[in-house]
């Protein structure tokens, strides 16, 4: 029995942490009146009305599309640049390599406003404000830093001997990269891509500053739903569920690499 005690404890703790999520999902299925009913109702007749209303009446389909375009674009850029840089860093020895890593780390940790505010002014000057391009470009910065940092670890796991064989057989560096290292690091690429997608999808500060009417992403649109008392909480919770479902699914997909990704490759 004593052996089962920690297991029981863990289940209880996780259940407590999930209560807010359950409550959110429940609220998203409630009618306007039910969401306002006190005491809180845990059992009721569910309806999908809130989802229909936000997606079609409030145009959240568009915001979903915007978020998706930006996330995929930024991930593509980050994965291309990041995999090249990570490979180059991993297979090379030169002075300042450590410093370069700190630059990448810094690029990831800098407060968003330090980049987003000047980027806004620059984007206005170059007539790029409120376009997909500027959002993709900015999301790709921290995503590239992350991808480089993370993929370096995956390339370190690719045995050098295999590549050296390829090089000895007359492969160029690029050949060794594309034909040997990249395929062997494929699981790492998938995991990194998923993380980049999530970071871009979840980003609020850059999107808040750089997107206005035309390319507003989901987090910005969601943030604006908050209004004083009398708000349609059911609809807001429906949007919340739509916003977090993809990331949760993705998290399940990359479960094996979660620790590595979340710690930026520092803990394996």
């Amino acid at each position: 029995m004593g052996r089962w005690l920690p297991t029981l404890g863990a289940f209880v703790v996780v259940a407590i942490f999930l209560i807010p999520v359950l409550w959110t999902i429940e609220t998203s299925l409630k009618t306007r009146i039910a969401a306002w009913t006190m005491p809180p109702q845990w059992v009721f007749r569910p309806s999908l009305e809130n989802y229909r209303a936000v997606l079609f009446d409030h145009g959240f389909i568009t915001y979903l599309k915007n978020s998706l375009i930006v996330a995929v674009g930024a991930t593509a850029v980050a994965l291309t640049l990041g995999s090249l840089a990570a490979y180059g860093l991993e297979r090379n020895r030169f002075r300042g390599k450590q410093a370069l890593f700190f630059v990448f780390l810094f690029a990831y940790m800098v407060p968003e406003m330090a980049i987003a505010l000047p980027a806004y002014l620059l984007a206005v000057r170059f007539h790029a404000i409120d376009t997909y391009w500027v959002l993709i470009a900015m999301h790709a910065t921290f995503a590239t830093a992350f991808a480089t940092w993370m993929l370096r670890g995956f390339f370190a796991d690719v045995p050098r001997e295999v590549e050296e064989c390829a090089l000895a057989d007359g492969c160029t560096r690029w050949g060794a990269f594309f034909r040997v290292a990249l395929p062997l690091a494929a699981p790492g690429l998938v995991a990194t891509a998923v993380f980049c997608l999530i970071f871009s999808w979840n980003d609020f500060p850059y999107a808040l500053v750089l997107s206005t009417l035309h390319v507003e992403t989901l987090p910005v649109a969601v943030g604006q739903l908050k209004t004083p008392a009398g708000t349609a909480w059911g609809q807001i919770m429906a949007v919340t569920v739509i916003a977090f479902t993809p990331t949760v699914i993705f998290a399940f997909v990359v479960q094996r690499w979660l620790v590595r990704g979340l710690s930026f490759g520092a803990v394996k």
Partner: protein, 318 residues
Amino acid sequence: MTEVTTSVSLQGRRRPPALVSGLRRRLPLLGFILPAVVYLAVFMGYPFVYLVHHSLLHENYANPAEGSHFIGLGNYSVVLHSGIFWQSVLVTAVFAAAAVSIELVLGLCIALLLQRTIAGRRILIALFLIPSMMMPIAVGLMWRYMLDDGYGMVSYYLKLVHILGPSGLIAHPLLARPWTALASLVVTDVWEWTPFMALIILAGLESLPIEPFEAAAVDGASRWQEFWQITLPLLNRAIVVALLIRIADAMRVLDIVFVITGGGPGNSTVTAQLLSYNIGFGAFQTGLAFAQVLLVLSATVVVCALIFSRVSREGAAA
């Protein structure tokens, strides 16, 4: 050098000098790194240089007639003398310190619990991680709803047990007073990031070597001694990684503050990054916002560097 010349005479053809051949070997690899470096230099470095440069200028976008001129450290001086800046620093520091330390303690406990879990661990961890993978804005809205005085579940149950309400410990709505509002933000952050902390520490726990524990068992160490003298020191690395990430994140908190308190009541929960947004984007006093964001960034870097150097020293000693 002599070896090179002999090989040249043996093979009967000229070899490039060592430096050039070294470069030739490295050049393709540098070519791999270059695109990312150029990209970051253009899209992150350039805005950053712009930030530093314009933090030294007086500019007022709300009134372009004032023009733009160099004022040295004038913006910094204004920021350092403004009450709201120091208040935002205090709020951010209290928030970060409270949230991250609670997350560390809770995360450590939960990691130990998960380590001893003998069934359903994978699914448990996957479910447990949902809060940390969620969109922070969604987390904020979720808690804003639950904390709502009229329709919020948390407020309702706190009233039920007389913690909240006219006769309770807290007589006013949760988000209506500075300290309870800040505490609400801390609770939200703890809910969101404790799973992250626990997962990193759990990974650290699982990679610990087994020998020290066997030695401790032979020496008859109690579980308490074992935890404090073996487990915790060995976990150093994992804990520091988690701490650094969390501190850097907490110092730039924006999303949850934006939707839960909006910096209110009054300006009592305006965090550093919310302040730079308000000054820079709301009031368009970009010079001030830039100076402020740079000051906060330097503070973050110093804090993280201190933790990092302390730990690498300890690591070197071990």
